[in-house]
Subunit: 238 residues, 2 copies
């Protein structure tokens, strides 16, 4: 048993329904927290992500699963939220690792963490979990360890806690330095069913993953190197 | 002319339609920025705020006025977003100045600034203006000067600019240490029509301000001490 029975605190867990956030939800439970799952619908292209988040939340029996809608599409500039921009396909590994990808959504983690902070403060909670990691997508500026430290500092100035000294907010990003293989291995230890998750940036109309975008390629490579079949269905694994 | 004609940069201005944000929009223009106004509708009680923001944006001829909806009501805990909580009325001045008010919305400024940051980054802008001030409502933790400094530090880690070194984000809060009288005096110099703004936390169904909530009382006292009539209509100035 890794779960503490002596202390059961609330944590807000950012849950996209992807592989990383499902794993971090399992981590929050394993660390003895009562998870409140927050899914932010920010104008991603596909309903399939929302459905995956719901499946994962139900599978873990979270105390509450709250969906927040904020349409980031009017801001423009990302292939994840702008249908006019093409999601890159079949890129070689060095291109995936290089630079800030077109799928970067401006200030996304800051928006997600702000909302998690608002809910945490209203709940009287001080712990926020994010599945962010900086290994496979080093190009995202808001996935760097120093970024999360800065957000934690901000959180402790932004809130009642910062004035009243009633507690200290912590942003937990336990997967930050994990490779995708390490994340999957850890999640399987914690009982995560990766068949419930969704990763693809550009799924087929029937919900199957494309197998060719950067996100699919990193996920597939990780399962392959672990010698485990990926339980989600793919339209192509070209 | 305080407006610079040699350099015309874009700034994102958070515009609630209140007295402070109307003044800061005028400040941004006076400082030579081309203002892009962002109004965040977060489940406040009344449509009258939205209308005021639209009137102010039109009056200043902003380059673009974008409304973003994010419903903070499900988080709970604030009289500004929760109809079950009563907005305090007729409080003495020392009660207004004391502690964190029930109208505090958890992490509100962090959410507003995150959204402004996202739009600024997508626009290629580095300047964000907020009408926050820490004099009349010292109880809001996210109106303290050190809070805005921390957000600025975060913004420069959170974004492309932080990775690529292409610019530095600045959060401008020029009214931070101004009293309400100083804000109004400055706004009148800059040509703000305060008849277009809306301040009341609890307006009558016909849109008239209550004259009795903390926000109305601070506003009315400021106009009175300046010897200028407040141009907005009140249901009561008890």
């Amino acid at each position: 048993m890794t779960e503490s029975v002596t202390e059961r605190r609330i944590a807000v867990v950012l849950l996209s329904g992807g592989l990383d956030s499902a794993t971090v939800l399992a981590e929050a439970k394993a660390a003895g927290f009562e998870p409140y799952a927050l899914t932010v619908l920010y104008g991603q292209r596909h309903a399939v992500e929302r459905e995956a988040a719901g499946r994962v939340a139900r599978a873990f029996g979270v105390a509450r699963h709250l969906e927040q809608e904020i349409d980031l599409r009017p801001f423009g500039g990302s292939a994840l939220t702008d249908a006019a921009l093409e999601v890159p396909k079949d890129r070689p590994d060095d291109a995936i690792a290089d630079g800030i990808p077109i799928t970067y959504v401006a200030a996304r983690n800051t928006i997600l963490l702000s909302l998690a902070l608002a809910w945490a403060e209203a709940l009287g909670a001080y712990d926020i979990f994010t599945g962010a990691n900086c290994v496979d997508y080093s190009g995202y500026p808001d996935c760097r360890p120093e970024y999360f430290q800065a957000f934690e500092a901000l959180a402790n100035l932004a809130t009642r806690a910062g004035v009243e000294g009633s507690g200290r907010f912590r942003v937990h990003a336990p997967l930050l330095r994990f490779s995708k293989e390490q994340i999957i291995r850890r999640g399987l230890e914690l009982g995560v069913n990766y068949g419930l998750t969704h990763t693809c940036y550009d799924p087929a109309p029937d919900g199957r993953s494309c197998g060719r975008c950067d996100a699919c390629r990193v996920r597939l490579a990780a399962f392959e190197s672990l010698g485990i079949p990926d339980p989600v269905p793919y339209a192509s694994t070209g």
